[in-house]
């Protein structure tokens, strides 16, 4: 008992890339980069708009370029992964939802919420193209 000498092993500094749940967590968090990048595109658009019609035309030309299309496809994939993982975490942030004396499973909440999200984005696309007509 008097001979105690507790030993603390060092923590793996690359734990965030350890295969499995830790790497998946880091990849999930990195979708934030994609969201911020899209924010940069929108911000650039706003600045272009504020500088007048010529600068705005330049921004539109950029959006039409193959590089921009490719960028946006990548951003779309990243944001889609964000949608999937966001609603997987969502149930954890709420108190348990109880219906008829039973807890609603987290997967049910995730599925419903994801459906709502898909509907929202679809509605936005449809609305924009309808109004544009």
């Amino acid at each position: 008992m008097s001979e105690r000498r507790p030993y603390r092993r060092p923590v793996n500094p690359k734990w965030w890339w350890a295969p499995g749940a830790y790497r998946a967590y880091t990849l999930r968090e990195l979708t934030g980069v994609g969201i911020a990048l899209y924010g940069v595109v929108l911000f650039a658009g706003l600045i272009s708009l504020s500088r007048g019609p010529d600068h705005w035309e330049g921004f539109v030309q950029f959006l039409r370029s193959p590089a921009s299309i490719v960028l946006h496809v990548i951003l779309l994939v990243v944001v889609a992964y964000h949608v999937k993982t966001w609603f997987e975490i969502l149930p954890k942030t709420q108190p348990k939802i109880i219906v008829n004396g039973k807890q609603v499973p987290a997967q049910t909440i995730t599925s419903y919420a994801t459906l709502v999200a898909v509907a929202c984005s679809a509605a936005l696309v449809l609305f924009t193209f309808l109004v544009a007509r």
């Binding site: 734990w15 980069v33 595109v41 929108l42 504020s50 779309l76 944001v79 964000h82 984005s121």
Partner: protein, 130 residues
Amino acid sequence: MSNAVSTKHAAAEKRSISPLFWLPFGAGGMLAALFGPGLILVTGILGPSSSGFMERFASYDHVLAFARNPIGKLIVLAVIALFFWHGAERIFLTLKDMKAGPVPNLKFATYGVAALVTLVTFVVLLGIGF
């Protein structure tokens, strides 16, 4: 026993300011989850690809009118600012996990940029006029 109780409940730890960053992170994440794919599709893929869409819907006059509208301004500010604050929180925490640098530097590089962009967006939107 009373001594043991008092040491168990030492003065509550100083409050963290994390909620200031967590709420915009959450709002931005929800906004991105609900409308992100739609926005990217319209502004970045379908819009620029379809003939005539950019000329009609995204003409300078049309977009300027949107940005001059008070509701339009709110939408633009909300989307840009919240997307940046969401990204800032996630990038900050990930860089902290990776021990990429001293925490104050990381906060400056992430939250600092988000704050700057929010401010500039606000000012530019006002400058565009009504």
